[in-house]
């Protein structure tokens, strides 16, 4: 009887310890997931830097902070029709570009392009970062202030 009682107590202590370990691990996992989401956002925002498809290029001198309006218009059409290549390359992101004139302080934009939008089948949230960029119209040789709203579907 005594032995059984001791064993029950030991098992109870073990179960409590196990519950504690699981709870700590779950909390760590949540932190890890958050960290990975942040990392994903940073990674996706970097992807834009390697998209010569939209960047300004002056005789192949690429400017990562400048976007060519003609390329944006063409790429919007290409992204809309492409179901294989760019969804894999860019993943589940949303790229919205707004053109301001003369500056965003007037709180209205002149043009906007929802260049790319690839949400996940299951909605689990959305994070967005904004980048101020230069938008160039090569045909009229004019530059505009623009903002890229890059959203990452979680």
């Amino acid at each position: 009887m005594e032995n059984t009682f001791i064993l029950i107590v030991i098992f109870l202590i073990l179960i409590l310890a196990l519950i504690f370990v699981i709870a700590v691990q779950k909390s760590n996992q949540r932190d890890k997931v958050r960290e990975l989401q942040e990392l994903e956002l940073v990674k996706k925002s970097r992807v834009l830097n390697f998209l010569p498809e939209m960047q300004c290029s002056d005789n192949n001198d690429l400017d990562p902070d400048c976007y060519d309006i003609l390329k944006i218009e063409v790429m919007k059409e290409i992204f809309d029709n492409d179901k294989d290549y760019y969804p894999v390359l860019l993943g589940n992101v949303r790229i919205l570009i707004r053109k301001f004139d003369p500056s965003p302080e007037i709180n209205s934009w002149k043009d906007e392009w929802l260049v790319y939008d690839n949400p996940k089948a299951e909605d689990k949230g959305y994070r967005e970062v904004q980048f101020p960029v230069l938008l160039r119209d090569v045909t009229s040789n004019s530059d505009y202030f623009g903002v890229i709203y890059l959203g990452v579907y979680e």
Partner: protein, 344 residues
Amino acid sequence: MKITKKGAIEIQFNWIYIAVVGVILLTIFINIAGGIRKGAQQQLAIEAVNIFDEIFTSLQGSEKTEHSITLPGIELELASDDEVCNYYAIKDSDFGRRSTEYLPVFSPNLIKKEILSYSIGWDIPFRTNYFLYLTSPDIAYVYVGQGLDIIDLQDNMPDHLTKEKVNTVPEFINHNYYKVKFISYSSLDNDEVSRSVAKLSDKDVTGVYINENDKSITYYEKDSDVLTEKSISYYIDDATLFAAIYSDNPGSYECNLKKAMLRINKISNMLVKRIDLITKSNLLPECKSETSSYNQAKTLLTQLKDETKTQVVSKNKIQSLINIKEDLQNINNKLNRKSCPTLY
């Protein structure tokens, strides 16, 4: 003091009871410890791969910069077969495999101790891709020959590579490198390797013979103690030449080059449509007169798009890409001189 029969049985039973429970508890603890250890290993693999993913993305942006990443007790495995060059993972881990489906990564199939990375933007003539080159300091790149061309190549390739210079293949003694690559501007066919190199497995001793005249690269692999020809591939410029040297085998080189060609196909398609928008816009009179240049460029870009529709690396295709690249460069320079919207 007399122990009764009943008491003796009870004492024995208690010991059996304790032994059984002890074994059960021990088994539970061993299983839990094993599970935690396995979980930690998987976690390390997943975390490492995630961090590499982030690092590889950043590395592309830091063009022509040499980086190194220490591998703490892990080895990086990269798919480098002919048709499968689309992932990397931690060796001996089934978890955390990361896709490189559209990222051209030129590397050996296994990287130990430290990752040495380098990246170059590939222009044909417009920027299409960022090539990522990976290797290990424990892989020897052996430059064979005495000509200026091999000295130039040795100087041009990243400084962090483990470079060795010899006049002939047998001169090279292996100092515990796990892979050896011979690079030469003359044929390496049937060249005998030293005994220290012969000890390595055949697949780990390879060679490339660069023929600048026809832009070809002949791949060699060790067969017992001599280098034997495997196959021939082609390169266009320094970026593709480095890619061929970093790659473990011709299959891996061509597989990754096909990814780059697919991107050319996509970008040339975009540039054709962009030219349409340029020619339809209100251009300055001096640029309006350049309509023929734009049309010519459109033809060349369409040709480029067609050439890269099927991503086969052949001599004719490479020559055609070189010609298109030069013609597009000339048109772009002309438009640039006239201050008209350039093609790229």
